[in-house]
Symmetry: D2
Subunit: 359 residues, 4 copies
């Protein structure tokens, strides 16, 4: 018989439930054997949807971790549990795929990284789904092949569709604010295209609350623009937004010395165009999941493959921590109105920058 | 002083007035010296708009033709006068640019051509505006340069925006029906890309009245599809429509053995896109003039240049007559439900095809 | 435990192997239990790829059909076996998904339909993959909701990428020529948007061999254009091509009285655009599979669901036979140079049309 | 006879010659009566191209200014002469259209503005051509009509095509560097969409020399990114580039609380698309003139109209000076690495910002 990776999923919220289904049905080399969630509603859902396929349900993470034969744990519950559960799972000898972010706190994230380093035989990854997107992969391969010369300027945006409720305000409390929650994806992509070892030279950001005044209480905004300068003449600039009318519009452009690549500059949900009296119209993805669902499936499969075959993960955990650090510095720049400078080793320069950590 | 072509315009209806303005203001090497129109309203307009710039106004074509110094006449009045006025002007030794069509009648059109042949020193042209469009020119140059190999299949459409009135029904009476009035442009383009000497092998067409039932009384339709096969393995197919919701969408694709060129497959009125809750939307040209205005200006200038410098016109009058003949055959095929076949000299084959003329 | 549909796949060629993988790994409610193929190479592949997952391998269709517990059979071997195997499977009480076409012969196809009618409890379907494509589904729902008024004109094309070998020439021998093999998809879509009960009024087609002269020996072409007129004022026109430079470009537009929908008018393989010195460039799907892979997965899942839950299939087998009949009539029109007419009951009219069957 | 504005053009370099032609041939209500240029080559060109149409040629600006009947002067010579000639012309009672920039020096520009204020009956304008572009006009009208709610974030870029020579290095010496020369257009647009009275809150910029190392000697870069924050929660961010492979790609997006407008997000030179083996490709404008030629013509006509009819100019001269000030602050931020802050009256805050002027 084919050997399948024995997987457990912690957390059956929106993303956790999707991970569970992906490991149950869309990851041929994996077998979902256990899930856990303290919420009775989540368990009720799992009773119908997962248990009949032989999945064991737990309300306790620790008990699930003790389920015999578990090889890998997907950590997808509430953000504050990401780091503690990841650390427990690593220490229990499990491979770990932890939903983004490890933590909104730089030090805690670094802590997970430090533990993971002690278990080099384990695969520990955080979920930067865009890394698994076919379009980003294609663009990266073109860039790597030299099609645009040397990448010099990187522009990337994460724009959520406007919601007619207070969701983003509540979300901001736990998500770590717009640059940490949303732009962190774009920062990670910048590090991918510019190289994981790129050293930050300066960070500055501004923002505004245009539709959700309640974000101010969390030091957050619904529109933020930031610039990250890297030593070696590379510039990344970012835009994050919580109020797009049209839908989820995450896009990137990579400008090289000899050409440019864009990813999703022209978003479209499918291949339909509607010619009507007011013009030609096409719809776009409404949610992150609409846009990146296939990337999540690929993530599950590649993580599984790396675990089973002791293969390399597509990116290092350290990069995720670095992206978080840069996102935090942008957020701090936004809050303070200051620009932070760093020397060629990434250490903060001057009193202004004392407020931010080493990058 | 710079010598300027002395131009007169016959007819100040919608197109005639535009021609007059183009020769007055947008054709530096021409001077508009006289216009004529029997309609008092047109004359009233000209009194305000043209006379102050020194243009002489006439109500009679013949009198205008006698205006001293006239070198070229733009024939742009009612369709039934196109041929007679063109012939008069040619016989009076004037260059002639006659609005399309010379006539809806094949024989009358041929008559103009026959007269023009007797005055080889005169420039006589009919207004196929798309020949002057920058995009069509660009595509043709690419095709001519071999960028798509040998053109094999040609698809072209003329689609007017729907009008909430009876305009198209009245228009059909004088315009010569959809294939003769609208598709004739596409047919002319096919002859341009395939070669003016292409010989028709077969013609067939179908159509329907979807929104303007009144067209039936004129043997006309508001949606027509036709195929013209040429000897030598070339195929052109056409679509004409009077009910597009979105606007004027005239487009063409030329499929060669080694590539394809499209012209206006993605219409747009300008460079604005609107991202709104229902999607991403852009507007397109609403009228023929919106789409082709710069082509009409170029037409005026190139015609003027050819007259002044005794240069070659960009296409031959004979081609316009041939396009009309093919359009008439398509219309006849639509009316009769029959497919017409032609031999390698363009003569109709079989009893069925006796109903159509030699192509 | 969850009940899973017990599936067998006949034929492990290119498409058969894909079906086998889809039922093995991408159809959660199905279990692939057996496959058959007479070719040792196919069996060798299956030994590595399928047998370890518990799939039983056969070289004989009949033996596979006798495998205990089989509930559904996917018929995906050589075209000439499609009808006989389908009939055997139906008579053995199995649900059947037969790859397109049932047969290139109209009567044989009708024969499968006749047998299927005797087993109304069985789900018998043929694989018109576009019916499962998200974009076509979206467009159809919009049309059904009245977004474009009443569909009047339908344009659709199937264009394969040029291959630098003789593949298409050999393929033509068994595939039943361009209108039967390629345009049949477009015809099926026309029947979907116009209604399954649409009655053909006329059929005419032309074509040419631009790159593969060898197709002539099979009465086939590499570029074909056809028009199908339906009673009730509806027109469908089709283009099929075997020599597209850019890739697989299958597209459709549906023109209604009040708007137009296009599907894949602007093909793109992913969301990357490349800005380089020669312009802005994007790549498109290279093969049918590139374009429609998700549709094939959805097909597997919906077929499975219909079988397990005794649900309705998304379209009727009779429609597939009707599409084949129309495709055959187009091919016959191409070969004979004749236009065929049909009365309002679909019976051929006049001597000309005696050569084609009742539609 | 029609009264025509009597126009003189100073400077017959690239832009000056275009202005001369525009006033000679494409501005019906204007008459080009005189030009001046000290360069014998320019005069030689004018002898052939302008003199035969009755234009008087001068080598001295002062002599041209004394030409009888001159009503308006187009100042289009070298940048250092823009301000002095404009001031002379204003004092001589002429309307003035001065090519951009009035000066690269903020104080000198302010000086022109101060003089102009003393002659309120004269029309004095600087050439922000994008203000006359049909697409920008259309977008602005939509924004003004409330189609996107309140504009909040403004992104705009000016990207020149890469040139395989040292042009940009030499040009940088006199043009006032990338934010002053290129981004000034984008800044002007931001002030248009956000309101001319928007007060700057902060300015920061970074940049790099990726292809033209020689720019460093002028404190300039070939890629610059800047953010301008305005009081009232409005953010503009800019990108300027001298090395685009594909061509001239100037684009803008305006993000409002309820929608977004983009201008030239999808650049295209015409309506042709080329389907070839490597993908679908379209060409874009190669130069600023390619992109904005019709806007320059509209500029000439609207300036003429305002002079003749004593109408309002489409924007105020003060705005041009403000755009220059912001561009200079961005450039100074780039050079110093500092972020500048301003209070709600536009005064610099803190020691850091002492280096920049009041905005």
């Amino acid at each position: 018989m084919v050997r399948k990776l024995q997987v457990a999923v912690s957390g059956l919220g929106r993303m956790g439930a999707r991970h569970a289904i992906n490991y149950l049905e869309r990851t041929p080399r994996a077998e979902l054997v256990a899930v856990c969630d303290p919420d009775p509603k989540a368990i009720a859902w799992a009773k119908t949807r997962l248990e009949p396929s032989g999945v064991t349900l737990y309300t306790s993470f620790d008990e699930m971790l003790a389920h015999p034969g578990i090889e890998a744990v997907i950590v997808a519950g509430i953000t504050t549990e990401h780091a503690p559960q990841s650390i427990k799972a690593i220490k229990a000898g499990k491979h770990v795929l932890c939903e983004k972010p490890l933590s909104t706190d730089v030090d805690i994230s670094q802590g997970v990284l430090d533990v993971a380093k002690q278990y080099p035989q384990l695969k520990v990854m955080t979920g930067f789904s865009r890394r698994f997107d076919q379009s980003y992969r294609n663009a990266w391969q073109k860039a790597e092949a030299g099609d645009i010369g040397r990448p010099v300027v990187f522009r990337s945006q994460t724009c959520d569709k406007y919601r007619d409720d207070d969701y983003f305000i509540g979300y901001s409390k736990t998500s770590g604010s717009i640059f940490v929650d949303a732009s962190v994806h774009d920062i990670d992509l910048a590090l991918w295209f510019f190289g994981a070892n790129s050293i930050v030279k300066s960070v500055s950001a501004v923002g505004t609350c245009a539709r959700y005044q309640g974000l101010k209480q969390h030091g957050d905004v619904d529109n933020g623009v930031g610039i990250v300068e890297f030593w070696g003449g590379k510039i990344a600039y970012f835009y994050a937004c919580r109020m797009m009318a049209v839908g989820q519009h995450d896009m990137t452009e990579v400008i090289g010395t000899h050409g440019k690549l864009t990813i999703n500059a022209n978003p479209t949900h499918d291949l339909v165009e509607h010619h009507e009296a007011s013009g030609i119209r096409r719809e776009i993805a409404q949610t992150y999941w609409d846009r990146f669902e296939p990337a999540f499936v690929r993530e599950s499969n590649e993580f599984t493959e790396a675990c089973l075959d002791d293969g390399a993960l597509p990116f290092r955990l350290a990069g995720a921590v670095q992206a978080l650090k840069i996102g935090s510095a942008l957020q701090e720049s936004l809050r303070s109105g200051k620009k932070f400078l760093f020397d060629e080793t990434g250490h903060p320069m001057g009193e202004k920058s004392a407020e931010t950590a080493k990058l």
